[in-house]
Each structure stands twice: as C-alpha cells, then as structure tokens.
Symmetry: C2
Subunit: 419 residues, 2 copies
Amino acid sequence: MPTKIEIITIGDEILQGQIVDSNSAWIAQQLLLLNLAVVHITTIADREDAIVAAFDAAKRRADYILVTGGLGPTKDDITKRTAATYFGTNLIRDQHVLAHVENIFAQRKRAMPAINEMQADVFENGEVLFNELGTAPGLWHIHDGKSFAFMPGVPYEMKHIMSQHVLPKLAKAANQGNIVNVYILTAGIGESHLAESIQDIEAEMPDYIRMAYLPKLGIVRLRLTGSSQDADALRSEMEGYANRIKERVNEHFVTFGDVDLEGAILPIMHSNGYTLATAESCTGGTIASRITAIPGAGNVFKGSVVSYTNEIKSRLLDVNEHDIERYGAVSEQVVSAMAAGAQKKFDVDFALATSGFAGPDGGTEDAPVGTIWIALATKTKVHTRLFHFQNDRNINIERTTTQCFLLLWQQLRNLIGKE
Amino acid sequence: MPTKIEIITIGDEILQGQIVDSNSAWIAQQLLLLNLAVVHITTIADREDAIVAAFDAAKRRADYILVTGGLGPTKDDITKRTAATYFGTNLIRDQHVLAHVENIFAQRKRAMPAINEMQADVFENGEVLFNELGTAPGLWHIHDGKSFAFMPGVPYEMKHIMSQHVLPKLAKAANQGNIVNVYILTAGIGESHLAESIQDIEAEMPDYIRMAYLPKLGIVRLRLTGSSQDADALRSEMEGYANRIKERVNEHFVTFGDVDLEGAILPIMHSNGYTLATAESCTGGTIASRITAIPGAGNVFKGSVVSYTNEIKSRLLDVNEHDIERYGAVSEQVVSAMAAGAQKKFDVDFALATSGFAGPDGGTEDAPVGTIWIALATKTKVHTRLFHFQNDRNINIERTTTQCFLLLWQQLRNLIGKE
C-alpha cells in the first residue's frame, strides 16, 4: 500500500474566498518528489466541530495528515486547543519556543504582546517542529497510529517547516515504488484534437502508465505517470511513448518538461544567444513579470517599457504621435511601432508589444473592450496578431500574455527548426 | 438553518500540485455576495471510489454540491459517468448541446474529433447548464434531496456557467438572514500587536459579530462578519466597532474595504490628482502588473521601465554609468537615480524603483542574494529603504512589491493627512 497523505487547510478566509489556497499545491509538489501521494485535500472552517470531523475522516483515509492554518495568536485561531482535546493531551508552554518568540520581538525592537506567549504552547506528548522564521511553531503528534503535522498558514513559514522538519520525516516513510513523471508541453492545439491525434498511442499504453491532459489557455501539457521498482526502465518506456507523441503532434510540440511556455522559451533563447524585450500597454508589465519570475531570466531579457499613456509611447518607444492620433493607440500601426521601438531601444533580437482594451471600461466603436493587438519585432520584420476577447480584465491580460509567448515561440521554431 | 454549500474539485492535477485551485476562492466570493456559506471544500482524484465517497460525505454536510473539473472529453475524465451511476441515471446525447459543440469546431474551421460527441452526453433526468463558451456543458441533478451542479474546471467556462445558471438558482435558495462583512485594512503592524492593541474592543463585540485576522506580508486585513434580518442595523453596529479600531490603530489604518494595498492607494492618488510610474529591476514588472490589474489604473499610472541591464538603466532612466560601476547596480545611489529618472521621464508625482538580487543566483560579497533596495522619488525628494530577504526569488519579488506599496502609502498619508 502506498503511503497516503491528506492535507487539511483550516481557515474561514479560504471558505469565503479571501485567500486562494496555494499552500496545498506547493505541498503536493514537494510530496510528489518524494513519491508520496496526496489523496485528499480538505478545506474547513475555524470551528471545533469541523476540525474534529475532518480529523476523523482524514484518519480513515490517510497515514499522514498535514494541517495548515489556524496557529496564529489571535482569537479566531482554535486549531491548537481543539487538536489537544481531540488527541487527549494537554498544551504545555515550551520554554525554548517562548525564548525564540521573545527573541523575535526583541530583534524587531518591539514589546511582545502577552497573547504571544500562547504561541509557545505545544502538545504535551508531541514534538515541536521549530519555526525559525516566525512565532508559531509547527507541531507533530501521533494519534491512533496516524501522524499529524500542524503548520502555520503563512506560506513562507509553512514552506520552511515543511522543508526543515516535515519532508525529512516523510522521506523515511516514502513508499518503495518510484513514481516517474514525464511531461510533454504542446501549444496551439486544443485538448480534444490532441487527444484524437494520439488516441492510438494512448490506447497502447499499459495500465501502469496513466496519461493526464493539463490544459491552460493556449497550451496543453501532457503528463505520463507511472510507478515501479525499476524507475530507469519505466522512464525509458515512458520516454518511448513521449517521443512518439512528439513526432505525432509535430509543430505543436514545444518541449519535454514541466514548464510553462515562457519556461520553455527562455532556455531556447539563451542557448541561441537571443535577447528579448517587451513594450506593454494593456498587459501592464505582466509579460515582463512572468519572464523575470524565472531564475536566470537576465541571460535573455533586457527589459520592458510599460507605456500606459500615448505620450510615453512616443517618448520612450518613438511611436509616431500622428500615427497614434490617426489610427488610435489600439491599432496594428501603433502596436507594430511599439514593438519596433522596443527592439531598437533595448537593442534586442526579439521585442513583444501589446496594445488593447483590457476592460472593463474603455474601448471605442471600432475597437470595443476585448480588442487587443500584439506584435513581435525582429531586426528585420514585425509580426502582428489581432484578438477579440471578452471584457474580463484579468483574463484578457492573461490570454494576451499567453498569445505573446505563443507568437514568440512560433517564430523561434521557424528560425531554429523543430528541436 | 442556513443553506450550506460544498465545493468538490476533481483532478489529479490539483492533488499533484500542477494547478492551484483558484476556482474555489472565486466561487466562495460569489456565494458570499448571496449570503450563502461554503462549509467545506474537498479536492479529490479522478477516481471512481474517491468521487463516490466525496458525494456521500458532501450529501451529509451540504444542501448544494458544486463540482468542478473532470468534464473534458479525454480519457482521464470520468466524472460524468461515475456521477450517472451514482445517481442511478443514464447518460443520453443532447442534440442541442451536440449542435453547439459541432458549431464551435466549425467556427474554428476545424474538424471535430469524434470523442467530442461525448461532450453532448448529459444526465437523463437532469438539467443542462448551457456552456456558451466551451464544449463541456454544465449539468444539474437533484439526488436524495440535494442539488449537484457539475461545471468544467477551466476557470472562465466555470465562471460563465456559475454566473449564468448556478448563481441564479442558488439566489432563490439564499437564507433569510443577511450576512454583513466590514473590512479594515491595516499596514505596518503585525497580527499579534494589532490583536493586543484592540483586544478590549474585540472582547466587547457580541457573539453574533465574528472578527478574523487575514494577514499577508506587511499587511493585516480585519474582517467583521455577522448575520441578521436587519442588515442595516447590524452594519451600523459593526461600523461603530470598525471606527473604534481605526482610531486605535491610528497611523496603521489604511482603509475600510476588502482591497489590497495597491487597491487602497490608487483611489487615494486618483482623488488627489497624483500620478505614478515605476522603474523596476529585481521586481521585473511585478509592481506595474499589480497596479494595472486594477480597473481604472490608467487614471494614475503612466508606466514603467523594467531595466534588467545596467545599459538600460543608463539609457532609459538616465542613471549615471559611473555610479553603477562605482556603487554597483544594487545600491542606494543607483536605486535613487532610477526612481528620480523615472519621475522625470514619466513626469509623475511619484516614482517607485527597485534594485536587488532576487536570487537564487547572483549577489556579491557586499550584497548577497536577498539584498534589495527600494526608492520612492517625488518631485523634490527621494526616500530609500534597504531589505535583507532570503533567497526565494518569488517571495523576494512579492515582499519587495509590498514594501514599495507600503513606502508609497506612508508618504501619501504624510502628505494628505490621516483621512
């Protein structure tokens, strides 16, 4: 039986949509690397009855139960005392933790509020997962043969405690079979077309290899997952299928690997010595921020001009003022000039530009909200594309960003071949 | 008894951390506006046993069960047939849906793969929630007195079906009491200090008003929540407490309202006629993208230069080359010059600048990874701050962005008074 993990996230703020639960995804990623499977994620309210019911259910489903949230010092945080009662243990004050909490306040040159002393309360028969980065310690407790780990909901503190304390404990419990994942990133082909074009390959796969389609706007990632004692043999079998899929989807293949389009593009550009800049109007810096989120982006990316006014388009990107007046800022002429301007200003091989009405307000009769032009300038040519999206601002920004990466990737592919 | 909602998210990609479940937060937000409470969020695998167990548990806890994910045409999507068996009904092909699916492919001028015909399969005794935006229809089925809604996991299709079909149905079921939320955004004070400073006010609150602390890096949002037949009376009582908290926290009060720091800053700047630009090195456009994610940002924000090389810092922001050589790009001198340069180039009242080593690589002996300078230039002065963060690139970028907004907000507060 593989070791089973359940994640319980405690917090009204998640149930009310105040916070997106990104902790669970991060935890699941780390566990995958240890060949451990998350079988269930539960999100519940800061309420005693909900916590007790979730613990009961999780104990039936999983071997290890990772609980995040509800460890703060304030009144709404009841996780610790509910758990102590559930485990039939007491909370006792840990002097080592207390000294650490006091020290954190001393370092910040602030007096420590008395309620913070409670942060040093830990399970009498449990283990402390020391939290160097914050005042709420992690806790570990074994109950009815199941292990419970408690961590604060603040992402960087949770990640620290997971990395320092919980993952090492779980590594020992990792199952014997090795999970192998092989990824194939495709672009510009829809999920169902992709599925149809490779259905014979999929049908040939043995039961111990599962394939999943992970679609996002404009891209579909395929993931082959299997588990075996002999990871190398399994991987090479899976790579055989992956290569057949690559050949089949032909120009829609981007790369092997668990990356986004920009994560596939940057290494290709780097290894070819290409440089990149952006001139962003409606995307407002989102393309630049997506690129620079990737370590080593500086090897390729030189920068961006976010031009949120016509004046800035002229002043920093040398877009002709009369063109803006004549054609409007959201036009093929202007977006082309932005891209060409950025290509020259940043002296790069490729420059992407965007200009559109992202909404919800704005737009003209000819170019209503959702009308978006993008352009890619090389040293010799400018390519443009026109899109008509809806009026959800953030979706429009995301779609435009993806389309820019797609356009760039297509041009790169044409330039450097299909590999 | 208030109407209870459970969200079930189906997908291996979430349990394996491939995707962050942002759908649930969005759904919860919409339901909150209808005074409906999400009591539980469950994430499970694309497996029959997990789906059946989740349906069983959800039926015990909730009145309405909203299921997202697993409606695609590909082999890994088993939600629909598992549900049909569970409900004791059949899947039948809906000709109206089939025509719509065929039409979508026709519009895209693509042949329809045969497996897409299955997208038109719906529950024999259920209701179709028509999906104008995609090929997978939403489905509605009542079983054992509980209502199940099925929606695709693609966010914009899910949002469309929720808005068009599910929310109108749920609105009728909304409970009689009205939920009232009052928010208080604070900045620059930690959760526990905040809690201690207002603990007497919190203690005075009646049981029907609950207060939650929603901390993020550098900010804490307080949410007062209550429910009453007389929403106006409750709101005015809650606003009384909120005003006392505002006075108590004094300079740490930012605004009433469920917004982030940038969401509080932009309206203040707009109403005072102030303009803003950014010059970003280590944040790579993230500050600009956070600002421009807000509708109407163009009233305040003129643009940004993302300067990822020294040459661009000189060429586009007029930073003195010799200063970069002498002090290094990550220095008080250079970040000040970037801010001052952006203030002039964009001709704005305020310009934010960042320069630092976000990691994981880079850094110097004097300025290791995590060393980050920020600056805020007005027409007459430049304010700077130095931070020493750790080596997680994305956290460093986020922290730096928050610190920039904090610095800007503090200067705005000094300029225009405390309200």
